[in-house]
């Protein structure tokens, strides 16, 4: 590992894409405004100049069309990175992703695979209202044949993309909008990371705080506040929603005996529901309290700031949930 540099999550995403484009001529980026505009969130700024329009392709507003094209190109030997501006817009491509990308290997008896990477922004926090603010990665994590990643750190933003591109199956990467500006240190030669494991971001013994993506910083804040009150929380960053790393999650909760899951999706049919079910199935004898969940309020995310904050998971709610598990 070389000396660390100050960088941002956005820059780490960009470095990952540029690195992939350099390494493998089969890789290309395709999506709305990824070229001349430099990417809706600035992730692909400068890439068109460096790699040219064949490899950085501005697509018209045709999510279904260009996602399906990514599938076809992947079936025929390329390694496309399809960028869908946000998970909200990906609903237009849901047919292609669920009915084609996820099924083709199994449905064709193993003859064709879809080694496609789809990157999408997700989540809320910028007062963009309901049609730009939802966290729908759980819908994709539901589907066999897909893999779903949620990088929440600079290392993961930098390192997950290459591993995903090497995967012979479709991988969806969700980048939370509030993480793009996150700053921190990253080794200059930081490279590929595993995409099938969760990570313990803070070891602890009193309760397991299980979370992913944009909720990680809030959970770390909550853990710090809990520590000041004498409660030692262990923070588990899921990193991958499909497959879920059962071993790490269960090991943590078997030790701490309490769990609170923090998930920016709505609790109904969410990732937190799935993790909770697995804890009940596999760690019941270790649990000392019911599993708690802190999720978004069951409302479309509203525009005014105070309402948006009230709708999303916040550190106070996490603290309250932890205290409930302690009785």
């Amino acid at each position: 590992m070389s000396a660390p540099v100050q960088t941002t999550y956005r820059e780490a995403c960009r470095a990952a894409i540029a690195d992939a484009l350099r390494r493998d001529p089969r890789v290309f980026l395709m999506g709305e405004d990824v070229g001349r505009y430099g990417g809706c969130y600035g992730v692909s700024k400068g890439l068109l100049e460096e790699f040219g329009p064949e490899r950085i392709r501005d697509a018209p507003l045709s999510e279904s069309g260009f996602t399906g094209m990514g599938i076809g190109a992947a079936m025929n030997g390329m390694k496309p990175i399809v960028e869908i501006m946000t998970v909200n817009f990906s609903m237009l491509a849901f047919d292609q992703i669920v009915n084609n990308a996820a099924t083709i290997r199994h449905m064709s008896g193993g003859q064709f695979g879809v080694p496609l990477v789809i990157r999408m922004a997700t989540g809320a926090g910028r007062q963009l209202a309901a049609q730009h603010s939802h966290s729908l990665e759980n819908l994709y994590a539901h589907v066999p044949g897909l893999k779903v990643l949620v990088p929440a750190t600079l290392e993961d933003a930098r390192g997950m993309l290459w591993t995903a591109l090497e995967d012979p199956d479709p991988v969806l990467i969700f980048e939370h909008v509030m993480l793009y500006n996150m700053t921190g240190e990253l080794a200059a030669d930081a490279g590929a990371v595993a995409i099938d494991k969760a990570a313990i971001r803070r070891p602890g013994k009193d309760v397991s705080l299980i979370t992913h993506g944009g909720s990680l910083p809030k959970v770390m804040i909550a853990a710090k506040q809990l520590a000041e009150q004498g409660i030692d929380a262990e923070v588990v960053d899921l990193r991958t929603l499909r497959p879920l790393d059962d071993a790490t999650i269960l090991d943590s909760v078997r030790r701490t005996r309490r769990a609170v899951i923090v998930d920016e999706g709505w609790r109904s049919g969410s990732i937190s529901a799935e993790v909770s079910a697995r804890l009940m199935e596999n760690a019941l004898w270790s649990l000392d309290a019911p599993v708690g969940r802190v999720c978004s309020a069951e409302v479309p995310i509203p525009y005014p700031r105070h309402l948006e904050e009230a709708a999303l998971p916040q550190p106070q709610a996490i603290l309250a949930a932890v205290k409930r598990t302690l009785g």
Partner: protein, 381 residues
């Protein structure tokens, strides 16, 4: 003979109604001919035949709704049909190790015991040490049923009266719920026993004197030996198990409202002096909360006595999994009939509560009469 059957015309078609024959018996049919009309949920559909021959007997009446595959008509003169080959067995399955569903055997053994939340709660209420329970639930876990079965009010170090009360309450409630009690009572003339005691104690220092309790205890022990059906444990799954030893639980009141019944081991084999010593020791340790777990769990029969400040008769509640409890009232002067005359004697009421799944009134009365008989010969106890 070729059987023309109701065809399947769609994934969701289960039956069809024959509404019209377009070919009739005797008509030649060729492959591809439309021969009938079938009414289905979606509407009327013409059905074709796939063989050449002559229409024979039409076996289904018009208007009949029949399942897909039902023979509609017989076709004559059809060339012999080859039997289709049977499917062969698949080759060795492709190498595949991973489980199809998320493994629920990502099971490291839980640190410590596996106890269901419900069981844990009940054990806490009853003051039961989970380490003493064998689990019968999934993964060998301790479940509610396992805790409910545990008998006896446990003593905790340092004697937690509240927990003790709760444990007694739970045990007694269960006893009344599960054990069909029958009750017998008899009056025992204690004159001889008390006279013997007086004589025996006359030459002893107070610390060595025997109490009536020790006589009754020994008498019960002898009776238990003679009638083993009152000395043992009952389990609904396996029935009654006679105990090899006679370990009588002696109910001892604890100041503050608690009650414990530690076992005196091998009562029938001990001398009265030894028994006395054991009783004194037990009472002392009980009141201090220093009982051993074997004392708590080994009783095969319980004796309860109200003592001098009690009332005439004590009807007990059996401590599960035991099958009997003997109760003694206070010794009191009462008029009795002896040889046709009314005299005043020291009389003590003795009761038996028995588990009717194991014994009945007949045996119970023999048991009680044995106790009586033994107490009439105190020197032989």
């Amino acid at each position: 003979m070729y059987e023309f059957r109701m065809p399947s015309l769609g994934a969701d078609m289960e039956a069809g109604t024959l509404v019209e024959w377009l070919k009739h018996p005797g008509d030649r049919v060729a492959r591809g001919d439309i021969v009938a009309v079938v009414e289905t949920d979606k509407g009327a559909i013409e059905i074709e035949i796939f063989v050449a021959g002559t229409m024979g007997k039409q076996v289904v009446a018009l208007g009949a709704k029949v399942p897909v595959g039902t023979t509609l008509a017989l076709i004559e003169g059809v060339a012999e049909e080859r039997r289709p080959p049977a499917p062969r067995a698949a080759a060795a399955p492709r190498a595949f190790e991973a489980p199809a569903v998320p493994p629920s055997a990502v099971a490291a053994p839980a640190p410590g015991l596996r106890v269901s939340p419900a069981a844990r709660k009940l054990a806490r209420e009853r003051g039961i040490d989970l380490a003493t329970i064998k689990g019968s639930g999934p993964d060998g876990s301790i479940v509610l049923h396992d805790v409910e079965r545990v008998g006896g009010a446990p003593a905790r170090r340092g004697l937690d009266l509240n927990r003790m009360r709760q444990a007694i309450a739970a045990a007694m409630a269960r006893s009344k719920r599960e054990i069909p009690h029958y009750y017998l009572a008899t009056d025992i003339d204690m004159s001889k026993a008390l006279d013997w005691l007086q004589t025996t104690n006359a030459g002893r220092t107070p610390g060595n004197r025997l109490l009536p309790a020790v006589l009754t205890l020994k008498a019960v022990a002898h009776a238990a030996r003679k009638y083993p059906a009152f000395n043992g444990t009952f389990d609904p799954a396996s029935g009654f198990t006679a105990a090899s030893g006679v370990h009588i639980g002696v109910a001892i009141a604890v100041r503050g409202g608690g009650l414990a019944s530690p076992a005196v081991h091998d009562c029938d084999q001990q001398s009265l002096d030894d028994l006395m010593g054991r009783l004194r020791d037990l009472v002392a340790r009980t009141r201090e909360g220093r009982l051993r777990s074997s004392e708590m769990s080994d009783a095969t029969l319980t004796v309860s006595s109200l003592g001098e400040r009690g009332v005439e008769t004590l009807y007990g509640i059996i401590y599960p999994p035991q099958v009997a409890i003997v109760g003694f009232g206070r010794v009191a002067s009462r008029p009795v009939a002896v040889d046709g005359q009314v005299v005043v004697r020291n009389v003590m009421s003795a009761t038996l509560a028995g588990d009717h799944r194991v014994t009945d009134g007949h045996l119970g009365s023999l048991f009680l009469r044995e106790i009586d008989a033994r107490l009439q010969e105190p020197d032989k106890l």
